[in-house]
């Protein structure tokens, strides 16, 4: 019987190695797997590459992981100057790669969908194109972009069953379905556990085949 539930954050994060690329969904705090992120802080892996929409506000779990020095490189769509991430960057203690938000999502989608590379006009006529491959397609300059795959994805779900089928509420969804497809090990936290078959087959938002472990959290 397939049963992807684990009983603790320790079990959920077991085996995440130093140097891992970690995909962390969330837009602000909405849709962020905070319990799993706390678990990662506990677990101890370091030299991480963290992929997350932003560098986070001070006091957030993301900022704590960064200030603990556990992240070697942050890949995100923006960093605030007045934030731990901004200060670490300016102090030379954090490498940051800023990627336009749509390209960030699409690069992970490409990783999940087996697209080895794609072109996009986003950023092609900006400083982001410096030193990079640009090709004119249909009269428009386009940047060549490569997939962004994770070793681990941390997912925040609303409901989950033992196959790992997931649903999300409102804007909790954001990066979660895309990141769930893009990692070797996908770990989800869920507010609700439901029986197999309780989710309507048409309404599953992340099929369980993309999910390896599920942790039930409160809240």
């Amino acid at each position: 019987m397939i049963d992807k539930f684990v009983r603790s954050t320790a079990e959920a994060l077991d085996g995440v190695p130093d140097g891992a690329t970690v995909l962390l969904a969330g837009f602000g705090d909405v849709g962020m797997a905070t319990a799993l992120l706390e678990g990662l802080i506990e677990q101890g892996a370091k030299d991480l590459v963290l992929v997350c929409n932003s560098g986070g506000r001070d006091g957030s779990a993301v900022a704590r992981l960064l200030t603990l020095g556990r992240v070697r490189k942050l890949i995100c769509s923006f960093v605030r100057a007045a934030s731990d991430a901004g200060r670490l960057l300016l102090a030379g203690r954090l490498e940051v790669e800023v990627v336009p938000q749509g390209t960030l999502a699409e690069r992970m989608r490409a990783a999940g969908a087996g697209i080895p590379a794609f072109y996009t006009p986003t950023g092609a006529d900006t400083v982001l194109a410096e030193g990079r491959e640009v090709r004119e397609i249909a009269g428009r300059p386009c940047l060549l972009e490569y997939p962004l795959a994770g070793d681990v994805a941390l997912i925040d779900a609303w409901q989950a069953d033992r196959w790992g089928n997931l649903t999300y509420r409102e804007t909790q969804r954001n990066f979660n379905p895309v990141m769930a497809m893009a990692a070797k090990l996908t770990v989800a936290q869920t507010r609700h556990v439901v029986d197999l078959g309780a989710l309507a087959p048409e309404h599953v938002m992340t099929p369980g085949i993309f999910v390896n472990r599920v942790l039930h959290v409160s809240g």
Binding site: G102, T122, V127, Q172, P177
Partner: protein, 216 residues
């Protein structure tokens, strides 16, 4: 001639832009003043507001006791969903933005050039702390890009320029600019003034603008 005029405030600029958005358009409103445009679209005019975090049909802010922590806009502010609205994930949300499905995107900016270049993410080309977010994706993808910004900086430097001095978000993308002083179209011939606030002369507006202006 001395001008006697009152520049529009944030609400005034947002209301002025909202006035020009017809029913049925799908519209992305950027962070800041653009977000406030939504407050000035009459409730009975069905405009579908897209938010980059996966909202199609964003509604106004909820009453304080009705906040849903799972429902926020691109500025992570609590919102509501209009009847008929729906949710998509981030890649689908940007497929909407990049795929040309937005009738209109409204963004803030530092500067706009007379050929429609947009600069809105940094004040220096190699500034290490980059605030790009979804702006580049939105700028390249919309059918129309409007900008709302003050006509000049606090120090009085013009933001409508022959050439942007700040790093670009996208080239040739802006179609119209709403400022606290005027509404201007970006045309192949440069900025064309559509209207000016009462009491401000064309010449005074031109004096506050780096690029040349044409009358509509």
């Amino acid at each position: 001639m001395a001008d006697g005029f009152t520049p529009l405030d944030r609400d005034g600029m947002a209301a002025r832009a909202a006035h020009d958005i017809p029913e049925g358009w799908v519209v992305n409103l950027g962070i800041g003043i653009p977000t406030e445009v939504g407050n000035f679209i009459p409730a009975d005019r069905e405009v579908i507001i897209h938010s980059e975090n996966g909202v199609i049909g964003a509604g106004p802010a909820p009453a304080p006791d009705r906040i849903n922590p799972f429902l926020v806009n691109a500025g992570t502010q609590p919102i509501t969903l209009r009847t008929g609205g729906s949710y998509v994930h981030h890649a689908d949300s940007f497929a909407i933005a990049r795929g040309g499905h937005l009738d209109l995107t409204v963004l803030g900016a530092f500067e706009v050039s007379e050929n429609g270049d947009l600069a809105n993410w940094a004040r220096a080309a190699h500034e290490p702390v980059k605030q790009i977010g979804g702006a580049m994706d939105l700028a390249i993808g919309a059918k129309r890009l409007w900008v709302i910004m003050e006509h000049t900086t606090k120090e009085g430097a013009p933001r409508l320029r022959r050439t942007c001095t700040y790093p670009l978000t996208a080239k040739g993308a802006v179609k119209r600019v709403y400022t606290n002083l005027a509404v201007l179209d970006v045309t192949p011939q440069g900025f064309v003034v559509r209207d000016i606030i009462p009491g401000l002369s064309f010449e005074s507006l031109a004096a506050r603008t780096d690029a040349p202006l044409a009358r509509a």
